[in-house]
């Protein structure tokens, strides 16, 4: 429905100085909105693990302690949520997916990945969009341990796709032959989710 225009309501702003950094239909935020589909899991670190499984030679699992010993990188990236906010220059510390994959033999048929999380959340990604520095598992934000409300102890970050792809509370990656939809992709959201192409909903 078109809707009656509300006098004096301007909606959300796209400041001119950052206009070219905001994907279409997005507005700028400076805070960090909390989005979630369920309660915060609060898995104790001694019970936390990260697993790469599915179409791989043999599955690999890291404990929290082992994961902390993996080489890390710092990232400064812009993130865009499908709920229309974009946050610029977010600073993360994490382990590149490239680093994790060095420990695993991926079956050539395993071209797609299902990221899965504590609490049952899932999201799907093509492998080719996770490698070559495009994605990482972050456990620090702004030089501090990642807050559980933002996905701590660790979350996936895939900055070039809508932020629902950056699974909070991540626990592993499962390699698949076919691109199967995850939690939101199976209910009307776009299978790929590129904010610059405005791939919000299935059919976009």
């Amino acid at each position: 429905m078109a809707g009656l225009i509300s006098r004096g309501f301007l909606g959300r702003r796209r400041p001119a100085e950052v206009e070219n950094r905001l994907p279409p239909g997005q507005y700028l935020v400076t805070d960090f909105p909390v989005l979630s589909a369920g309660p915060t899991p609060h898995t104790p670190l001694e019970r936390w693990s990260f697993t790469v499984e599915g179409l791989v030679g043999s599955p690999v699992t890291w404990s929290w302690e082992e994961f902390q010993k993996l080489p890390t990188q710092t990232y400064t990236v812009d993130i865009s949520c499908v709920t229309k906010w974009t946050k610029l220059d977010t600073r993360w510390l994490g382990v590149s997916i490239d680093t994790l994959l060095k420990a695993v033999q991926v079956d050539p048929a395993g071209r797609y990945v299902m990221a899965y999380s504590d609490g049952g959340y899932t999201t799907n990604l093509p492998l080719e969009e996770m490698v070559n520095g495009q994605a990482f598992v972050a456990y620090q934000f702004d030089d501090k341990p990642l807050d559980p409300v933002h996905g701590g102890p660790a979350r996936l970050v895939v900055p070039h796709l809508y932020f629902w792809k950056s699974a909070k509370w991540i626990r592993g990656l499962r390699f698949m032959e076919r691109n199967q939809p995850g939690f939101w992709e199976s209910l009307g959201y776009h299978i790929h989710g590129d904010p610059w192409k405005e791939e919000r909903y299935s059919g976009d």
């Binding site: 078109a2 009656l4 225009i5 509300s6 004096g8 309501f9 959300r12």
Partner: protein
């Protein structure tokens, strides 16, 4: 009874009244008004010139006995999107899209009877006030107690009206607790609502109380859990969570 389809209508603002530093009451005249049940809410939708839309739900503060108009009491959330517009931009005479009344779970009317315990935190008092105003308009004497948590006396919404209701001696009593700054000389509660406080206020009603709890999510969680531990039958407890304080 078949319900009419829920549809947006343009409500005209006929009055704006400040209640506290953070809250104002807005009266909307509705072309398609229908009687609500106390506790129900309306959705309010804003549309920008570029087509951007956003909407929020606000509890109705007025009783259904007030015909052809509704009053919504809205807390101004500093970083919010809709409430600052309502507080700072909206003027008498403006038109705004609303739809309602909505909801059938968190409702009370005199037919449901009592004894009634209303527990509110902050602007969570709004739907409870619709119940109390309805009760008063119906000259009901259903035994009713309200436990209302605020930061300070200045933050108590409808304070004078509540005092007036309590003075009517028709079976209504109000209990306040102040979590940050109690008024000078205050001898009542000065802490967050807890199990001991609830037990004191509910005492004359015991397990017969019909309880409505509305406020920030963590307050509602705490109160609901305490009531269940007191073995109050769960079907007598109705809750409405507002989300976090200040968001």
């Amino acid at each position: 009874m078949v319900q009419p389809v829920l549809e947006w209508q343009a409500g005209r603002v006929t009055a704006i009244r400040p209640e506290t530093r953070q809250t104002k009451s807005f009266t909307f005249a509705l072309p398609k008004w229908m009687a609500h049940r106390p506790g129900q809410h309306y959705d309010v939708r804003l549309t920008a010139p570029d087509g951007y839309q956003t909407q929020r739900s606000y509890s109705i503060a007025s009783p259904p006995e007030r015909l052809r108009e509704i009053e919504l009491t809205v807390e101004r959330i500093p970083d919010g999107e809709v409430s600052p517009y309502l507080h700072d931009v909206l003027m008498q005479g403006d038109e705004l899209e609303v739809r309602g009344p909505i909801g059938g779970y968190f409702v009370w009317d005199v037919r449901l009877g009592g004894p009634l315990l209303l527990v509110g935190g902050g602007s969570g008092v709004v739907p409870l006030m619709a119940m109390l105003r309805h009760r008063a308009a119906q000259h009901s004497t259903v035994p009713t107690r309200m436990l209302y948590s605020s930061r300070s006396a200045e933050d108590v919404i409808y304070h004078d009206e509540l005092n007036g209701m309590a003075a009517a001696n028709d079976g209504f009593e109000a209990f306040y607790t102040f979590t940050r700054q109690p008024p000078a000389g205050w001898t009542g509660y000065r802490r967050r609502i807890d199990a001991a406080m609830l037990a004191e206020v509910i005492k004359p009603f015991d397990k017969r109380a019909r309880v409505y709890v509305c406020g920030p999510t963590l307050l509602v969680e705490a109160v609901a859990n305490a009531l269940v531990e007191m073995e109050l039958p769960i079907e007598q407890i109705r809750t409405e969570r507002f989300g976090p304080t200040g968001v």
